[in-house]
């Protein structure tokens, strides 16, 4: 277990968890816990802020995370997202790192089309469109991504299609991904990442956590990321075992 360095803080990184009450049903709170701990272990000070509907939007955040929710939770946050849409879009285009999981990933897309055919507009930060389905896509997932193999668990009824030229977050090696047909999973535009993966995604995939923290550290301090060498043996073993098990590789 790496100790939290006792030396002077390298700077304060402000993490904003969007709608922790409504949009973190599947353990996505774990992403926030993970970021907080790793920021500290890298020698920075972590400040975690929850943003709730109706509150002033924390524009000074360095890293934004959002999770999955139930349909009822999603309805509760839509107005707040619309009210703050311009701020969030400009933060995104300015390079602010963001990780949006499941329901929040869908809301960062162009639109969600319900089973009944109603079109609910999203923020349009990611060029993706989600079609509501009767069938749910549920199960463990393995992806190939820019940070290597990523494992997680998906549980969504929406079927998401990438717009022309939209980069996915990863390629599906096991599981359904965005829609169960084109082997894409999630989406990435600049430093904004969208994905269906719970698990939660960050603890077992520390490479992704550190990518986000590095981007946030640069924004927070104006200096390049100065990471500490962390021991991730347990996370690597947890991930490696899932990869081998799901891809049928003998261990």
């Amino acid at each position: 277990m790496p100790e939290i360095p006792q030396s002077e803080s390298k700077g304060t990184i402000r993490v904003v968890h969007l709608y922790p009450r409504e949009m973190s049903i599947y353990g996505d709170l774990g992403n926030t816990r993970c970021l907080e701990k790793r920021i500290q272990r890298h020698g920075y000070t972590a400040e975690v802020v929850g943003h709730n509907p109706g509150e002033p939007f924390p524009e000074d955040g360095h890293l934004f995370v959002g999770g999955g929710g139930q349909d009822s939770g999603q309805v509760r946050v839509e107005d707040d997202l619309e009210r703050n849409a311009d701020i969030i879009r400009s933060l995104a285009s300015d390079g602010t790192p963001m990780l949006m999981i499941c329901g929040m990933y869908q809301l960062f897309g162009n639109a969600f089309i319900t089973v009944e055919g109603n079109r609910l507009p999203g923020l349009g930060i990611l060029d993706v469109t989600t079609q509501g389905n009767a069938k749910r896509m549920i199960g463990p997932v393995v992806l190939e991504t820019v940070v290597g193999k990523v494992v997680g668990y998906e549980n969504h009824s929406g079927s998401t299609t990438l717009g022309h030229g939209q980069e996915p977050f990863g390629t599906v090696l096991h599981g359904f991904g965005n829609n169960g047909t084109d082997r894409t999973e999630g989406a990435r535009t600049g430093n904004v990442f969208g994905s269906y993966l719970h698990g939660p995604i960050l603890p077992a995939n520390p490479g992704l956590a550190d990518l986000l923290i590095g981007l946030a550290a640069t924004r927070a301090t104006g200096r390049p990321f100065e990471p500490e060498p962390l021991t991730d043996g347990v996370a690597d073993e947890a991930r490696g075992r899932q990869v081998r098990r799901l891809l049928g590789i003998a261990s």
Partner: protein
């Protein structure tokens, strides 16, 4: 009726065969009986005149069912139940087969059945329950039910099916809000926490975000029961406008068990009416042994080993707060098979800080490394990680031979570890507990 008799014979034969193979508590005999006679359950319950009570909700079904059965039996009722924890309709049939006469009609006054949320509804399509006890709605096996809201809708539909009475958890908005669908003429009663311990509600309740306005509990009305603990095991049930029950001392520790006792007692009072006696109730509850894996204690070479089943954030959180005050050598075994819930994300909705001081001796199960990783993020030291369950148990026991031990595990890990312990330490076979109830 011949068809039912054939089904009883086939079911009993299947039961005998599966017992020879060593598979106690399986749903297989029930499946056989149901194949032979699809209306088996309906026939079996035809002579049960005083009520068919369905107990459902996410947490506490098994313990509450056991307590309710004990309460009714203490009041002289012949009670049919499914105490094996196999709470699907086939499991219900399987557990009935042993005592069922060839007519296929159970000789009992009342049936008390523990049913999983989805199966409770399927059951109600076959046999209308007279009473329903709705315990709580928590996130559990979301890969099966998809959403808490969905689970709440299942329970709400069940509440609407009961023909005589419904008992609801007044503190749980998902449960209490279902009063709106209960038809006129059906009695509604509530159980909950007394104001003196209302501060512990957040650790056991989900937040219901379906509505913009805050949840406001309804008037509790007649026949309600409120839990007022004296310590971790002893409590009173406060009955507004009636005679309080207690003190009651349970064999099982903790807030969860006491809430279950309050729910069971409120239901027994409703079912029994004037025949209910507070003194008889308190004595009956004191005799209830913890069910399989719910705080069951195994004597391992002169030292207690406590088995604690964990399956969702609310359950694990309550278990940790119940046992956290007495830290002992701890092993945690997490599997991710269907019966465990395949998504282990929920471990991140539990706080493990109470284990930080003493640490965790061993993590095991298919997701042993994920559990160890989770503990790392709460700065809980982990001595060893061994995914294979039995070798992990052996190492755990030999490293902590001369001290009390505690084992938290998910369902299939529990089944497997308990089988090993039963073979070594002479425990009642899983599924055979009905005999002593």
């Amino acid at each position: 009726m011949l068809r039912t008799t054939a089904a009883v014979i086939a079911g009993k034969a299947a039961r005998a065969a599966s017992r020879v193979r060593g598979g106690g508590g399986s749903a297989f005999p029930g499946l056989v009986a149901e194949r032979v006679d699809p209306r088996f359950l309906e026939h079996a319950l035809a002579d049960v005149r005083e009520g068919v009570v369905v107990v459902t909700g996410t947490n506490g079904k098994t313990t509450t069912t056991r307590m309710l059965v004990a309460l009714l039996r203490a009041h002289g009722k012949r009670v049919l139940t499914n105490p094996t924890g196999s709470n699907f309709t086939r499991g219900v049939i399987s557990s009935m087969l042993k005592d069922l006469p060839l007519s296929g009609r159970a000789r009992a006054d009342i049936a008390v059945l523990e049913l999983d949320e989805a199966h409770a509804l399927k059951f109600a399509e076959v046999v209308a329950p007279s009473h329903a006890l709705l315990l709580n709605v928590a996130r559990d096996q979301l890969d099966r039910f998809a959403e808490i809201d969905h689970t709440a809708r299942l329970l709400e539909r069940l509440a609407g099916q009961a023909t005589e009475g419904v008992v609801l958890n007044i503190d749980d908005p998902y449960v209490a809000r279902s009063r709106e669908v209960i038809p006129e003429g059906v009695t509604v009663r509530y159980f909950g926490l007394d104001a003196s311990i209302a501060h512990r509600l957040p650790e056991i309740l989900e937040t219901d975000v379906r509505f913009a306005e805050e949840y406001a509990p309804p008037e509790s009305g007649d026949g309600a029961g409120f839990l007022r603990p004296r310590d971790e095991r002893e409590f009173d049930i406060v009955v507004p406008g009636g005679e309080d029950i207690g003190p009651v001392a349970l064999q099982q520790r903790g807030l969860a068990a006491m809430i279950n006792a309050t729910a069971a007692t409120t239901t027994a009072r409703m079912v029994l009416g004037d025949a209910f006696s507070p003194g008889t109730a308190a004595r009956a509850l004191a005799q209830v042994r913890p069910p399989f894996g719910r705080g069951e204690v195994v004597d391992v070479d002169g030292q207690p080993l406590e088995l604690v089943l964990v399956k969702n954030p609310a359950g694990f959180t309550v278990a940790l707060s119940t046992y956290g005050s007495e830290p002992v050598a701890t092993m945690i075994a997490i599997n991710d098979d269907y019966a465990d819930g395949r998504d282990v994300s929920w471990l991140y909705d539990v706080s493990f800080e109470s284990l930080r001081g003493r640490g965790v001796a061993m993590t095991s199960g298919i997701r042993a490394y994920d559990m160890a990783l989770r503990l790392q993020y709460d700065d809980v030291p982990v001595d060893a990680i061994e995914p294979a369950l039995v070798p992990a148990l052996d190492r755990f026991i030999s490293a902590h031979r001369d001290e009390p031990k505690r084992l938290f595990c998910t369902y299939t890990a529990m089944m497997s570890l308990r089988r090993t312990l039963a073979a070594r330490y002479d425990l009642p076979e899983f599924g055979e507990e009905a005999a002593d109830a």
